[in-house]
Subunit: 350 residues, 2 copies
DNA sequence: TTCTTTTAATTAAACGTTTAACTTATGCTG
DNA sequence: CAGCATAAGTTAAACGTTTAATTAAAAGAA
């Protein structure tokens, strides 16, 4: 590998001059500049960023801690992060924790989870990253960002449970409201909802949005229409029968997977989605474009979440925190991004 | 940020001693060792990896150039890469080129694509990565890895078109063979195949596998059963009608998306998949688990591809290249990974 | 005892940059 | 023409480590 020293010698100038040219500093003559540039080209010299970083004490690098990159929401969030970083000329050091892979679904019981994260954070800091974005795969109560962290950090698509670090999340109340309201606009009044896991804040917020939409449209909320699911396709399949028993004309599923289960049940019992009964999903995963009929659902603003989280982080790194972006819930700084209703063919006018 | 110097001063030893302790070097007394370790803990000292890297001239970092991380195969390939890197204690610097996002589907027409890649590679080298893995999103003929590259590189899930860099790809002939052979084992003889785009090497290889399976089972190859698709769901939908006209009892779709289109057509015409006609897909995307009935398909060995590519790369970096891993096609070093048949409910005995 | 080896440590150079401080030559002003 | 700016460089220190070379003291061998 050829260094600035060798370029300097070749040009009969000092290394400072070469450095100045590389960094567009003033006080260098046009003639020498051209010569040096030519020699750089000829020798195929590439500056050593690690030396530069050591000297300048900044790396323009952020660390992205991803719990599991194969989880459906991760790639789009990362895409948002890299999008913003590209604009701001930051680098991203990606850590794929592979938590699902290592421990399976129940890993969050593990005690050492917290230690793994702490260790990874140590290593990122040792690599002089200037900030950290954490992207969870599961919702959970563990505070994965330690409060004594020396650099800025933000959470994308989850709560930090900390007054120190902001989080950027989906506005689930608004999302569920949008979906339910759309169903109502199509003339439906008897609308079942298949929920996610009981204790989940996603479930709570989406239920709230469902209720608010009913309320705003002067439709009585009937608790019997709320059917428990657990996010899985199977739970959707099982819930479908219960919903139909209640004589509803539409079902709002709190995710697309459960909607898939509902489709299956309806198909097996000879009912036609969109005609006999309307179905709406939530998330807008790939699947929704392969269901027949196409699933009407709410697109999660994943790209925006990643981008906004990154924006927040870089603002913090660069010290210009825009307070007006902030709102707080129980002391925690929370930014909410809104999903977008994808109107397709599974919800039809009554 | 606290440095080794401050730790040394606090302990009344030289920085060399602290360094030796940190790196488990010999010639340091047990007593001082304990003291230094305690002080490190107390002061919460974290070594500066960039300084270390500058001095030792290695970074244990590889660059991963991803054309588009939101493409369905990317996350699993990356998961394989990070899996291997974790084992070998390497880091990965992820570059998401976002090529789809920037230029849309036809970006590969662009002339500047090659320059973008070259520029990114320059920057990776400047960051002292020790090797590069390239993960394409589209197949194409551009040679994205320049032959004058100063560090090792490998391609994961695509061909390098270079005698210098190895590529790790899916063994499509074997894959299509496995699927077709399975269909035949279920008693089918009249088997249509819906192809991908015409010029694609995936299409060619999968067709070869299909033909070989027929041949091995002493079934005549009927060119009329080959129906042109273009990978899209719509093309599958359109191809379905043509396949049914030929009175086939099974259809092998060269990807899951087209299988989705076939499902749609069959559903609309009142035919039941798995009963009236058998369908098999290829890829095993998420969708295949949401189709009714569940799609029988070939799982792409994406994780293995990423992992193997990474293994190859790190072997090269560390200088112990295992020649026995290698086989060549037109001079290009190609490693093939085998997919796995996922037997589900869309192919049934005749 | 004296000489040699071993152990535990220190010193200082080096890695490839940036940058503040300095030097020298040139041009401009009054 | 002296005095002063300015332009175009150079010098050398510094960033936080590692490591080869060196030293000093203690232990062992003759």
């Amino acid at each position: 590998m050829i260094t600035i020293k060798e370029v300097a010698k070749e040009c009969n100038v000092s290394i400072a001059t070469v450095s100045n040219i590389l960094n567009n500093k003033p006080n260098v003559g046009e003639e020498t500049k051209q010569k040096v540039l030519r020699v750089i080209e000829e020798m195929n010299y590439t500056p050593n960023t690690v030396a530069k970083n050591l000297k300048t004490k900044n790396t323009r690098t952020i660390g992205a801690l991803i719990e599991d990159i194969t989880v459906f929401c991760a790639p789009e969030i990362i895409d948002g992060i890299t999008n913003y970083c590209e604009q701001k000329k930051y680098n991203v050091l990606l850590i794929n924790l592979r938590l699902y892979k290592k421990y399976g679904d129940d890993y969050f019981e593990r005690e050492d989870f917290f230690n793994i994260v702490r260790q990874e954070i140590r290593e990122l800091i040792s690599k002089q990253v200037e900030g950290i974005i954490y992207v969870p795969a599961h919702e959970r109560n563990l505070k994965c960002l330690p409060d004594d962290l020396a650099i800025p950090a933000v959470m994308a698509y989850g709560y930090t449970r900390s007054k120190k670090f902001p989080s950027v999340v989906v506005n689930d109340i608004q999302g569920a409201y949008t979906v339910t309201n759309y169903i109502i606009q199509q003339g439906h009044k008897r609308i079942a909802v298949i929920t996610g896991k009981d204790h989940s804040f996603h479930t709570k917020d989406r239920l709230l949005g469902y209720q608010k939409a009913l309320y705003d449209n002067k439709i009585f909320y009937n608790p019997e229409f709320v059917i428990a699911g657990d996010w899985s396709k199977e739970s959707g399949y099982n819930a479908a029968a219960k919903a139909i028993e209640k004589n509803v004309t539409a079902i709002f599923c709190m995710n697309d997977q459960m909607a898939g289960g509902v489709y299956k049940w309806l198909m097996e019992t000879g009912k036609i989605v969109g005609k006999d009964i309307s179905i709406a999903g939530y998330d807008d995963r790939d699947v929704s474009l392969y269901m027949n009929p196409l699933l009407t659902t709410l697109r999660l603003p994943l790209h925006q979440i990643g981008k906004k989280a990154c924006e927040l982080l870089i603002n913090q790194i660069e010290g210009d925190v825009k307070k007006d972006l902030y709102n707080r819930k129980n002391g925690e700084i929370i930014i909410e991004e809104e999903g977008e209703l994808k109107i397709r063919d599974s919800v039809m006018p009554l």
